[in-house]
């Protein structure tokens, strides 16, 4: 297998990545993939990716949201645009920043780990042995991880977005219940069917990218060559960040251009 470490943006590497993504998506969508062993891998992956970091991530998201809400509210008030502060917060924070931040957080926390794990399995020859034994490493080891990462990203995004929605209300109106109608109206305006579908699709793509790309590039590590592992992981992370950025830009372009 060609060593792709030095040439992260090599076309062949991307083609291989896309092919792997296709196989993995098909496998992830077929119910036969999920046997008890696969499910155990997926549960373990969700535990590592979402549960373990949940308190800290929620705290981080809450702090980040609070600061941003305060900045937007103050600036909007100063420019006499307080009416549009909530809409701005919902559009910027809930629809864009929190999903992006979650994807980046999970990519750093778990994407790197998954990529390294797969690269090491590849170097140690575990995956090759499995394949030789007639079991599909794609179905048994890789697809559960991809699904679990996608679910984790969706879960973290949902929870932190909910926190941000509550904080936006408190930050703008305090604990008064009388602004609920106004708040509801703006929420109704911002979260149209298209916006909700776009958010869900973006979450899914982020989740898939976070696991798929490190795994696909981790597979580029060569058996017995430990030095190929770090390069494969590095290439995977760079590609991952690139793809996350691309998804975000595409989603913005579709929404606003």
């Amino acid at each position: 297998m060609a060593f792709a470490g030095g040439f992260i943006f090599r076309l062949r590497s991307w083609r291989r990545l896309l092919r792997f993504a296709g196989f993995a998506t098909v496998a992830a969508l077929s119910p036969s993939t999920y046997g008890p062993a696969t499910r155990a891998v997926a549960v373990r992956q969700i535990y590592f990716t979402a549960w373990q970091i949940l308190p800290w991530y929620i705290l981080f998201a809450a702090l980040f949201s609070l600061v941003l809400i305060e900045i937007v509210a103050t600036a909007a008030r100063r420019y006499g645009l307080a009416l549009h502060a909530l809409e701005l917060i919902l559009r910027v924070l809930v629809l864009e920043l929190i999903p992006l931040l979650t994807a980046l957080f999970v990519a750093l926390r778990s994407g790197a780990a998954i990529g390294t794990e797969v690269a090491l399995m590849r170097v140690s020859g575990e995956l090759q042995e499995m394949q030789a034994a007639g079991a599909s490493p794609l179905h048994r080891e890789l697809v559960p991880r991809i699904t679990a990462a996608a679910i984790s990203v969706a879960s973290l995004t949902t929870l932190s977005c909910a926190i941000a929605l509550v904080l936006a209300y408190v930050g703008l109106y305090g604990f008064s219940p009388w602004a609920f109608d106004q708040y509801t109206r703006v929420v109704g305006q911002v979260f149209g069917a298209a916006a909700l579908a776009g958010l869900a699709l973006k979450c899914l793509l982020f989740g898939l990218a976070v696991a798929l790309i490190p795994i696909a590039t981790g597979l580029e590590a060569e058996r017995g060559r430990f030095k190929s592992a770090p390069l494969a992981v590095l290439g995977g992370l760079v590609k991952l960040f690139f793809v996350i950025g691309l998804i975000e830009i595409l989603s913005l372009a579709v929404k606003y251009v």
Binding site: V43, R44, I46, Y47, A50, W51, Q52, L54, G80, L81, L83, H84, M121, S124, E126, E129, M130, E141, I151, A154, S155, T158, L159, C161, A162, L165, T184, R185, V187, G188, Q189, F191, G192, L196
Partner: protein, 334 residues
Amino acid sequence: MSTEREPDVSPLPKDLGVKVGMLLALTLVVAAAFVLYVLFARGVFEQTQRVTLIADNAEGVRVGMDLTFSGFPIGRVRRITLREDGKVGIDIRVPLSEARWLRTTSIFTLELPLVGGARIRAYTSNLKDPPLEHLAERPVLRGDTAEEIPRMVASLRAVLANLDQITDTGSNLQESIKNARTVSERMAGRYGVLAGMLGGEEHARKVIASIDRANALLASLGGISLKLDSVLSKTDQRVFGQGGVVDETQKAATQANAILGQVRESLKQVDAILANAQEASENAKAASGNVRAAATDLAALRAEVEASLRKVAQLIDEINRKWPFERDTRIKLP
């Protein structure tokens, strides 16, 4: 999974499945609640009434924007269509709970402010009018700030030019203000409003002096009239009063009348005597032929009496001429 792999760094808890299940359940519940909330916020669970607003231009209007009444959002734009006649139909859904604010006489406006999005507003002057029917079509009045500005600037420029002209040095306004200041300064001076009206203290002083003189004149006239009054009253007393001229004259005239009456009586008696004498003389003539001389004497006496009678009549005439107050102007003569 091969045994060659190193064990996980962190040990796996026993209730792994429960924890992950809880997380997934929580996520699903939150997501479902949020979707329901958004559906509620978008009015999916509410029955709505449709109103179509007809505009010339849909600029600034977007799907999802509010229709406000008194600043409160009561409806939402659902659809914008370009109609066959080239006008724009803005389809608005108003929840039935808010539809009571819209009446048949309601007016709709579309405003494009400089900052912020367009606003569609409804105005209802009389809330007792019949309610707006379902699927009603109403024209919308359009007010565009950006379109208004050039027009406003043009008219403002004209106004400013006028203002400039008015406030220019030597302009009518400035002259007027100057005059007003002069007048008010004079008014604030010693002779006040009088000086302001007459245009100087000197004139005012003259006027005041004239008034003083007129006052003095009036005072002396008062004295004169008092004196005249007393003179008149005295005259009145002397002429018409008790024992006055008129009174005395009247008395004299009465006395003269009485005298004349007496004279008339005397003359009558004389006349009778003379008649008797004539009769006696004629008898005597018959008796004695020497009586003719006596008769001639009697005629002379009679002429004398007539002469004195004439004199009395003349006297009465004269008195009457001189004193016209005599009431009984008739003088009876034999």
